[in-house]
C-alpha cells in the first residue's frame, strides 16, 4: 500500500512537532492511543483569548498517524476553541487521501483534538484566575 504524497510530505516534514509544558497556562493536552495498532498520539493546544495560538504534537506510530496529527496541528492554529471542536476525522481522511485501513489514524487525531480541548476547558474552569477565560458555550 502506497502512502499519498501528502502523507509522505507530513511524515518527512512534520509540522509543529514538539510539546508544551502541561502545567503551562492555557495549554490543553490530549493523549490518546489506538489499541488496534498500538499507536500513541499526544496533541497539545495553547489558547489565548479563546483562540488557539499554537499547537504541537508528538506521535509514536505509523506514517498516517503522524501525518494526521501533523495536519491537525496545522488546522488548529488560528481556530477558536469552538471551531476546533468541529474538526472531523473525515476531513483529515479527505485531505490526506487515507485508504480505508488507515482511517483509524484520522479517528485517533480527532480523538486527540477532543481530548486536548476537554483538558483545556477543564483546566480553565479549575483556575478562573486567568483574565479572560471566555469559554463561549
Amino acid at each position: 500500500m502506497a502512502y499519498s504524497e501528502k502523507v509522505i510530505d507530513h511524515y518527512n516534514n512534520p509540522r509543529n512537532m514538539g510539546s508544551f509544558k502541561k502545567e503551562e497556562e492555557g495549554v490543553g493536552t490530549g493523549i490518546v492511543g489506538a489499541p488496534e495498532c498500538g499507536d500513541v498520539m499526544k496533541l497539545q493546544i495553547k489558547v489565548e483569548n479563546d483562540t488557539i495560538v499554537d499547537a504541537k504534537f508528538k506521535t509514536f506510530g505509523c506514517g498516517s498517524a503522524i501525518a494526521s496529527s501533523s495536519l491537525a496541528t496545522e488546522w488548529l492554529k488560528g481556530k477558536t476553541v469552538e471551531e476546533a471542536g468541529n474538526i472531523k476525522n473525515t476531513e483529515i481522511v479527505q485531505e490526506l487521501n487515507l485508504p480505508p485501513v488507515k482511517i483509524h489514524c484520522s479517528v485517533l487525531a480527532e480523538d486527540a483534538i477532543k481530548s486536548a480541548l476537554n483538558d483545556y476547558k477543564k483546566k480553565a474552569e479549575e483556575s478562573p484566575k486567568v483574565e479572560s477565560v471566555a469559554t463561549s458555550s
Binding site: I31, V32, G33, P35, E36, C37, G38, D39, V40, K42, K58, F60, G61
Partner: protein, 240 residues
Amino acid sequence: MAHDHGTHTSFRELPMARSMCWHCQSEVTGEYKCGQCVKVQPLSKDLDYFTCMRLPRLLNIQPEKLQSTFYELSRTFHPDFYSNKDDQEQIISLGNSALLNTAYRTLKDPVQRAEYLIRLEAGAVKQIRSNPPADLFDEILELQEDLDEYRSLSQEKNIERIEELRKKLNVSREALEQRQVQMELSLTSKFDEWDTIQIASPESDDARGKKDAVLKEMQEILSDKTYVRNIVNDLIETAD
C-alpha cells in the same frame, strides 16, 4: 465437565454451507461427503473456530484435543487427497482446509485465542474503547524522545551521551519486558474467570454482564500489551 463431547464424537457435527449436495443435489445428511455421489462438501462460512475444532467456547483448552481434532479433520479435507478429483472438489477441499488451518493456529496461541474470543463476542462489547493508560503513554512518549535523540547523535562526537542513553534505554526495555510477562499472566488469569462463568450458566442475563466485564478487562490488557510491544520492538531495533 458440562461441555465434554464424550468419546464417540461422530463425523457429522460441523455445519455445512448447503443442505444439498452441490454435485448431485441429493440431501446432505451432515456428512462431509455426499452420501450419494461421495463428493466433498463445503463447510459453512459462519463456522466459528471453537465449533470448528469441536471445543466449547472456553479459554483454557486442552492442546492435545485441539491437535487431534485438527489432524482428524485434515485427514478428511487436505488438498493432497483431492489432487485426482475434479476442480470443484479441489476448490472445496482447499477452502475447508484453509478454515481448519486458521482455526487451529488461532486457538493454539493463548493471546490469539483471547483476541478471537473478544472479536467473536464483540456484538456485546463493541463499545469497549478502553480508557487510555495515561502513565504508560507518558512513559512511551518520553522513551520515544530518548530514542529520537539517540538516533540523531553522531557516533564520533557524542560517545559518552550515546553510552549513557543506551544504558538508560536498556534499563527501560528490561522493565517493559518484565511488564509484558506480567500482562500475559494477568491475561491468562482472566481465562479462569471466563471459563467459570461460561460453565456455570452461560446464557443468563447475569452471566452476560459478568462475561462482558471479563472481555473488557482482557481487551484492556491486550491493548496495553500492544502499546508496550511496539515500544519494546523499537527499543530493540534502535538501541540493542
